[in-house]
Amino acid sequence: MKASISMRRIKKMNSTIWFCVKSLSIATVLMTTSMSFAGNGGGYAGPTFKTVSIPGTDDKGITVGRVHEAFHTCFVTGKNGSTSFLRQILNALGSKQVIENGSDVDKTKLLSLTDAIRSDKVFSQPFGFAKHDEKKMRVSYIPRLATRYNDAYIFKTELKEAVHSELRSLQDSAALILDIDIDPNGGRYFSDEELNQYLAEENNLLIRLNTPQGIWKNEETSYVMSFGALPFISYQKAIKNTSYDQIGRIKDVAQILQGVSLIYPSPTRNGKYPIFSYAGLVSQNEKFLVTAISNDRFVSCLQAELQNSLVDIPQGN
């Protein structure tokens, strides 16, 4: 009787013992990792039948709407307090901080920029801007969309609104036009006519993201959205996903994208892009402050958001 009770106790302790052994192995590095991690579903000993019985509905891809949401989150709002790419741009340009200081923004900024222009990080180039009202910022947001989907237009409108909202605090407070232009090779890549057209818009701040290549086109790949020099989100296939109820009636139809990938319009991934911001009229020349911004966080944010937008967990190993 005693023996049987003890056996039960010992059996009960099995899990504790196993935990103990595992912990011991980590602490003393006496056991191999393969032993301590074996049987946890890693499956790296080779293929298993476990990967076969996955419902077909689980691995379809991502909806177009979710892609847009991911882009919106990472570009405008940020996630869990993270710095959005737009905020990074503004931080890099320093505009937000100057305004928060509550200083005489116009003069301070121009003076600061004038100082900056003397440094080697700033160049001067007569871009032929149209004369502008120095009391106001101009906001213009020009997403370049190349898409086969009608709802991309909705994205454009919504995103534009969101960006305006984000930048609203900057309006009427500085004599600065931001012309954010991203070009891995440097140089000039837009016409005066284009600039004048942008400046003629009613909005108050010009943010323009561009690449010399323009919108990429590739016969094998389609783009959900192309946004100047920001990473493109592309897909290989779009499928119509029809879900059925238990008796075979159609419940829902959605566009699902498969083979989603990111395309970096830069020779080197995660490179720093120069950003040109208009520094105002100094002497007789237009001046531009050059800064640089990395898209590392933005890309990682997109990766996480796209991944986490899936309904299911990643399948297979």
């Binding site: 912990s23 790296y44 076969v52 307090g81 100057v98 200083s103 075979g248 995660n270 991944q307 297979g316």
Partner: protein, 264 residues
């Protein structure tokens, strides 16, 4: 007597193990927090900015420095991980949680890109013939776009995710749960998942298997209590084969080159 000794031995072993483990984790936490030290210091400097009259150029430099420090710290953490330190993701998150100055999410994003970049660098610098060929194929493939890759630390890990790593058949994305992958396996797991992204058969089978008409057909057959016609049977069979193709068979297809590369 023996029966009493057993539990006592296990009890003391457990205490000893827990003490050791606790000490090791505390040491790791301390080390990771030290790595993040310069970044924390830099962030505290930023907190003083609004009270100072500073020039724009200085602000820009300060943000540049922040990103550089983040990258440096992330690279050190990657090196620590590949040197064999376990549970690094958990330690990083704990340290970030105890530190209000550093934006946790921002740092985790940088950590993600650093893990990916450093791993690609390692593949790129490899000399073995198969890895060189693999690198060439990747480069060609990546001209069409890089896959979505996410390195998971505990914040991002789905409770149901038991895999060390995974390749999503539909999205084509790759995830790596670093706290579940021992450092000794990291590169082989990384290469294995990348190989999945090169498997064209997998994409075809995944698409076929994603055809939801077949589950609906199976449901109808069950309700109507009839046997499938020959064309229906052929469709069902193709669907099942595609299911195997996107599951078991793709693992065989991918493990063959994985092992060949591993041997080199």
């Amino acid at each position: 007597m023996n029966l009493l000794n057993g539990p006592l031995i296990f009890f003391f072993t457990l205490v000893w193990v827990l003490l050791n483990q606790g000490y090791a984790q505390a040491e790791l936490l301390h080390e990771v927090c030290n790595i993040l030290g310069p970044l924390k210091e830099h962030k505290s400097l930023q907190m003083t900015l609004p009270n100072k009259a500073i020039r724009l150029i200085e602000i820009k430099d300060i943000y540049d420095q922040e990103l550089d420090l983040e990258k440096r710290a992330a690279k050190e953490i990657f090196n620590l991980y590949v040197s064999g330190v376990p549970n690094i993701g958990l330690a990083v998150e704990r340290c970030l949680d105890s530190n209000e100055l550093i934006n946790k999410q921002d740092f985790l994003y940088t950590l993600n890109s650093t893990f990916i970049d450093e791993s690609f660098k390692k593949i790129k610098n490899a000399q073995s013939p198969r890895l060189v060929l693999f690198q060439q194929i990747l480069e060609k493939k990546f001209k069409q776009g890089l896959p979505v890759v996410q390195v998971l630390t505990p914040t991002f890990v789905d409770k149901n995710l038991e895999f060390k790593a995974g390749f999503h058949r539909g999205l084509g994305s790759l995830v790596f749960n670093i706290d579940r992958i021992p450092a000794s396996e990291w590169f082989i797991v990384f290469i294995h998942e990348l190989l999945h992204s090169l498997d064209s058969e997998l994409a075809i089978d995944s698409e076929k298997y994603a055809n939801s008409k077949i589950p609906a057909l199976l449901s109808q057959l069950e309700i109507q209590g009839r046997t499938p016609s020959s064309p229906e049977l052929a469709e069902i069979e193709a669907w099942f084969k595609a299911g195997l193709g996107r599951g078991l068979f793709t693992e065989y297809r991918t493990w063959v080159p994985t092992l060949l590369i591993y041997r080199e």
